[in-house]
């Protein structure tokens, strides 16, 4: 006996992601899903952004890591509400994990919720968490071949921060190739060349983020 199903495999995730989106949008919260390889500088960028904008924007953070609480401690030290999710081996966050921790955050006192995904250029791109925008970091030490090797994430994101540009003089890497290949994959992508360490280029990122605020 044959049974027709025709059901999207990620339907359950998509349904929960929509619930998250409604819950967060309903409170006027802008939610970003921040993704990159391990070590690209997600936490450094986030800490710098919170330090620079924290007087005007109320941040909340969900940290996703395979194990440990290092990143959550860095963010908590800035006085920002933060919840750590440990995936215990899982390579990405999914909508259900995010939904399960939302009640632990003071949502009424958050303007921007940043979900820092597990460091990985592949799997996180496939799972909608209920965010308003996917944002990715690529550090130039990873090489200028990455957009064409990991096209999916570059296609899914609204904004790309090309990080660690202060190291460019020491590397054989072409910022122009990163930008051109990323834009070929995703012509609408906003590309920012920044150094989360030195602060170079961050004003344009802050302006983009400011444009996303709902308040």
């Amino acid at each position: 006996m044959k049974v027709k199903v025709v059901t999207n495999i990620l339907k359950a995730n998509a349904r929960i992601a929509d619930e998250n989106r409604r819950a967060l949008c309903g409170r006027g919260i802008t939610t970003l899903n921040l993704m990159s390889s391990p070590g690209a500088g997600k936490t450094t960028l986030l800490a710098r952004t919170i330090r620079d904008l924290g007087a005007r924007v109320r941040f909340g953070v969900i940290e996703g890591d395979i194990q440990g609480t290092h990143d959550a401690e860095v963010i908590a030290a800035l006085g920002v509400p933060v919840i750590q999710i440990n995936t215990a081996g899982g390579c990405h966050l999914d909508a259900n994990m995010v939904q399960s921790v939302l009640p632990e955050l003071p949502l009424e006192a958050i303007d921007v919720l940043v979900i820092e995904n597990v460091g990985n250029l592949v799997c996180p791109a496939e799972f909608d968490l209920g965010e308003d925008a996917k944002v990715m970091l690529l550090s130039i030490t990873e090489g200028d071949d990455k957009p064409l090797k990991y096209p999916r994430m570059f296609r899914e994101c609204e904004a790309l921060l090309v990080n660690k540009v202060d190291l460019a003089p020491h590397l054989d890497v072409s910022l122009g190739k990163i930008r051109a290949d990323a834009l070929a994959l995703n012509p609408a992508l906003q590309v920012f060349e920044v150094s989360a360490r030195s602060g170079a280029g961050l004003e344009a990122w802050y302006a983009w983020l400011g444009g996303k605020l709902k308040g």
Binding site: M1, K2, V3, K4, T7, G90, A125, L148, D181
Partner: protein, 115 residues
């Protein structure tokens, strides 16, 4: 690595569809997977076989119908398909004004089994 999450989602859908249709045993599960999803059929077969024990699909075979990336080019006006996992330009004329129409599929199509 995400093939395991996808295999578990497939099994959830299969369990629910089998219960709705009154199937006690599922023999075949057919999926449609687009090339642009990045899902590797071999890894998904492996993850499915590792996860199916104890479900009505414990003895089921997975059949995967792959869909290539296809699009319509605004420059030359033609429809195209590509064997690549991503498309940077129209493979027919090299133009950049194209839109992707197929390749993002990720669905359970049907299943076969016995009551």
């Amino acid at each position: 690595m995400h093939e395991l999450s996808i295999a578990l989602s497939v099994l959830d859908i299969v369990k629910s569809a089998a219960a709705d249709a009154g199937l006690s045993r599922v023999d075949t599960v057919r999926l449609r997977i687009g090339k642009a999803t990045g899902v590797l059929p071999e890894a998904l077969h492996f993850a499915f076989d590792c996860s199916k024990a104890g479900t009505p699909a414990a003895g089921a075979a997975l059949e995967i119908e792959e869909v290539p990336i296809g699009g319509h080019c605004g420059t030359c006006g033609r429809d195209f398909t590509s064997p690549e996992p991503y498309v940077l330009a129209c493979p027919l004329c090299g133009g950049g004004a194209f839109r992707i129409t197929t390749g993002d599929e990720l669905a359970v199509l049907d299943l076969e089994g016995e009551p």
